[in-house]
């Protein structure tokens, strides 16, 4: 089955999310749709999947024009989608999830579970998935859950499979396995559309590459292009993906974590005897697949995690038992992983966001009043210094792009007198240009003699940015290794196997 998008245009108010986009997916071919966040990839796929109606253009299947008014139509036409956030019901079994929506029934409308199980086994065996149809989905590892999604699409007789950023939640090993599955599907004659912004993956599996920038197709790329070439196409200017940094010149170890454990509300142990130290002028990267205790670790450091034991010392002072304000006042700069949720107040102006942490003191406070004159001066200065692209300091944070939002957070956190800098996934979802800027700022902070702790989920970032890498798995530190450790070794550590 051949799928073609012809001249798709989709507008949201004045913003054009897709501008005359063409795309052809042929059977037995992996077509990569490459673009930065906000380039319009997801919008395009939502149009294809019937979730949005296009303002212009048409969808063709085997050269015949089709109209989808909802995902049901798209599925019936043989289009399957593996979503970035799985559309599975965690308390259902694999078989129950897979048959949801087109349940096989016996006489009298009784669910035919045996048939559903058999189907799961059949598809699972065909691709070597080894999935137990009776396993509860919520108890399966993320990579396996993704396979359930794939099975679900295949059982719906999908001949075109769309993978929407499928590797965001996977370990490097799981990613490799997914790549293998995609190749296998290609051999079986499925047309695959693979949406991603990760260049390494594109280079590995793509037969064709379409690059999307600001809603427009900027061209097709040769699958043999280098990462820098692809990135340049994606961004629209020459980029250098390598982090420029001089060798670290570590000083005294001023930040020490000893025997740190933490428990969740339900009593589960989320941090288990964490030990590490960071020297002045050194970047330690915490690597690992998301959800292995990194969030809890940063929360524990800044005094937001409820139940903790052990010791966290900065300049010889204990941080455990202190509240967020006290920790920040000791000179901790903190960039949270979810900047819109935890880093910024979207409805506040840039200026207001810049004083969020110090509204109670001079020079931002003048008696009971906000010192508006100083705030304006401060905000203008930071806007300039951190190259925040906005109409002015009165722009609302919500109106900024992700990169500019992150610059506002950085501007605020780096403008205090720092003794430790903690940043959690500081480049998540940012465009390449902003990533360069954020990396520069982090390296500059290190070079000013401050210990820096970065949480990274992408190996490339971890190895490029870090001076040392600590790998976390299930709340424990598997090991702390130099940043030139081979990817394969790091990948194994991320799966819990110590080096």
């Amino acid at each position: 089955m051949k799928l073609e998008l012809r001249g798709i245009t989709k507008r949201f108010g004045a913003m054009v999310a897709n501008d005359n986009v063409n795309l052809v997916a042929q059977p037995g071919e992996i077509h990569c749709l490459l673009g930065e966040n906000g380039a319009g990839k997801s919008t395009l796929m939502n149009v294809l999947y019937g979730l949005y109606q296009a303002d212009g253009g048409e969808i063709l299947i085997d050269d015949k024009v089709v109209k989808f008014s909802g995902p049901g139509d798209a599925m019936a036409a043989g289009i399957g989608m593996v979503h970035q956030h799985f559309m599975l019901i965690p308390v259902f079994t694999v078989a129950e999830n897979v048959m949801l929506g087109h349940e096989p029934t016996k006489f009298g409308g009784i669910l035919d579970m045996a048939a559903a199980r058999a189907k799961v086994r059949e598809v699972s065996a065909k691709f070597g998935f080894e999935i137990d149809p009776d396993a509860i989905v919520g108890e399966l590892p993320v990579g396996v859950q993704q396979r359930v999604e794939i099975i679900k699409a295949l059982i719906g007789n999908a001949e075109v499979l769309i993978f929407d950023e499928p590797t965001a939640v996977l370990t490097p090993q799981e990613t490799d396995e997914l790549m293998a599955i995609m190749k296998q599907l290609r051999e079986a004659g499925t047309a695959i559309v693979f949406i991603t912004h990760k260049l390494r993956e594109v280079q590995e599996v793509a037969d064709k590459i379409t690059v999307l920038r600001l809603g427009k197709v900027v061209g097709e790329a040769d699958p043999k292009s280098t990462a820098n070439e692809l990135a340049s196409m994606m961004v629209g200017r020459a980029v250098d993906l390598d982090v420029e940094k001089a060798p670290a010149t570590p000083g005294k170890p001023t930040f020490k974590v000893e025997g740190l454990s933490a428990w969740s509300h339900s009593g589960a142990k989320v941090l288990d005897d964490i030990n590490f130290e960071i020297h002045e002028g050194e970047i330690l990267v915490i690597a690992g697949v998301q959800g292995n205790g990194q969030t809890e670790l940063t929360e524990a450091i800044i005094g937001m995690h409820g139940k903790t034991a052990g010791s966290i010392q900065l300049d010889g002072r204990e941080l455990i038992g202190k509240n967020v304000k006290q920790v920040l006042d000791l000179g901790v700069g903190f960039v949270p992983e979810d900047r819109t949720e935890d880093g910024l107040v979207a409805e506040f102006t840039i200026a207001e966001n810049l004083m969020l942490d110090r509204s109670d003191r001079k020079p931002f406070a003048k008696g009971l009043n906000i010192n508006l004159a100083y705030l304006k001066k401060f905000a203008l200065e930071k806007l300039n210094q951190f190259d925040v692209r906005a109409q002015g300091i009165e722009s609302k944070a919500a109106q900024l792009s992700g990169g500019n939002q992150q610059k506002v957070v950085l501007a605020r956190e780096l403008s205090r007198e720092l003794r430790l800098f903690v940043a959690s996934q500081p480049t998540r979802g940012l465009d390449v240009g902003s990533i360069e800027f954020v990396h520069e700022q982090i390296v500059a902070t290190r070079d000013s003699g401050i210990p820096v702790l970065i949480v990274a989920t992408e190996l490339d970032e971890a190895t490029q940015l870090g001076d040392r890498i600590a790998v976390m798995y299930k709340g424990k530190i598997v090991g702390i290794v130099p940043s030139n450790t081979p990817r394969a070794t790091l990948g194994q550590m991320m799966a819990g196997i110590s080096a």
Binding site: Y52, V324, L344, V345, L356, D357, S359, L368, N369, I370
Partner: protein, 384 residues
């Protein structure tokens, strides 16, 4: 819930005005439907349509004209004093509604859905009333002390809600609703004990407040308008300053928009809850003083009237903006004052005004409905 509150506090003044217009139009239809003349002329509509439309015009215009004469300016009155009396009535009604509405606006802007204005007004009135009735002091000490007591009473009752939320995570909506019952029942109980009941009284009623504790009736005794109206203006300016210029209000708003970010930025969430609810309650407490030291002068079970709930509507209609709340408060004061004349002159039931008020809430709660009626274009579709 959070999204609903955002709709309430974030919408435009334009939509508020549209909601009021729509409500008055629907109100007009109801007035017409309930009019006996309209009903009787409708039976021979095809024979003599002019009768029907005449009756229609008379009923709707007559009702709203009476409302205007009752609420703003009575051009049919004999002397100047009677002519301007309606606007003073409007102001007198608007005073407690606006004060309490300001209190709720503070809470709404801080992300707390305070439904407890009734209870907070009652606590303000009880505290102020007790000082006004039983303390004997020269007026320049007695009056400020009584007002302060009322503000403190409402404030403490509000702060208690904030304290419960901060320490136990109790939902403020449920707590404030329950606190309303506690306040009403406590008042009822105290009005039957010597603590507040007038000696020798059979009914639940307190002795009158001493003259030295009362708001000044600066227009003379035949007017119900009193010095509380100035307190209302001060409260508006204070609330504006608090929310827009003070560092405390900055933290209130940060909490209202994004409690997570506020927490990560080191803002003490628990303490802020207490302060928000304390100030919110204090403003309702001030409304209580306007009742007991101004309009009512004796404590009865009806001291809070329906102002606690009107205040919610007023805060929503005013989009939780202090000046907007003032305008909305004046509107509601006017509706109340006008309703009396409307019933007396035109026989239109007072309930029509309640319907109009309820419709306003409905139209604000359903901005898409208002937008659809008036074809207001949605500026931006939400992008995924």
């Amino acid at each position: 819930m959070k999204r609903v509150m955002k709709e309430f506090t974030g919408g435009s003044a334009f939509l508020s005005i549209l909601a009021v217009i729509a409500s008055l139009v629907v109100g007009g239809i109801l007035i017409a439907l309930s009019s006996p003349e309209v009903q009787s002329t409708a039976t021979y509509l095809t024979a003599r349509p002019s009768d029907f439309f005449q009756a229609l015009w008379n009923s709707v215009f007559g009702a709203y004209d009476a409302m205007f004469r009752g609420a703003i300016f009575n051009y049919k009155a004999q002397d100047t004093l009677q002519m301007i009396k309606p606007i003073t009535e409007t102001l007198a009604y608007a005073t407690p509604i606006t004060m309490s509405g300001l209190g709720l606006a503070v809470a709404f802007r801080s992300g707390l859905f305070n439904i407890g204005a009734t209870g907070q007004i009652i606590f303000g009135a009880m505290f102020a009333g007790w000082v006004g009735i039983y303390v004997d002091l020269p007026w320049y000490v007695h009056f400020p002390l009584a007002v302060l007591a009322g503000v403190l009473g409402g404030g403490l009752f509000g702060a208690l809600v904030g304290f419960l939320k901060a320490t136990t995570g109790a939902n403020e909506v449920i707590v404030t609703i329950m606190f309303n019952y506690i306040a009403v029942l406590l008042l009822g109980y105290l009005l039957k004990t010597p603590i507040l009941q007038a000696p020798g009284a059979v009914n639940p009623i307190s002795p009158p407040v001493k003259d030295s504790a009362k708001y000044v009736f600066f227009l003379g005794d035949q007017f119900r308008l009193h010095g509380g109206v100035f307190a209302m203006i001060i409260a508006v300016v204070f609330t504006w300053w608090l929310l827009n210029r003070s560092t405390l209000g900055f933290r209130f708003r940060a909490l209202g928009h994004n409690p997570n970010a506020a927490k990560v930025a080191g803002i003490n969430i628990g303490l802020t809850y207490i302060l928000v609810m304390g100030i919110s309650g204090a403003l309702s407490g001030l409304a209580g003083t306007s009742q007991i030291l101004g309009s009512e002068q004796v404590l009865t079970l009806g001291v809070a009237a329906s102002y606690g709930f009107d205040a919610i509507t007023v805060a929503l209609l005013g989009r939780s903006n202090p000046w907007g709340v003032l305008v909305a408060g004046l509107l509601f004061g006017g509706l109340r004052a006008g309703a009396v004349t409307m019933q007396a002159n035109q026989g239109v039931p007072v309930d029509i005004v309640l319907v109009v008020q309820s419709l306003i809430v409905l139209f604000i709660a359903a901005p898409p409905l208002v937008r659809a009626i008036f074809r207001v274009k949605v500026s931006k579709e939400v992008a995924a």
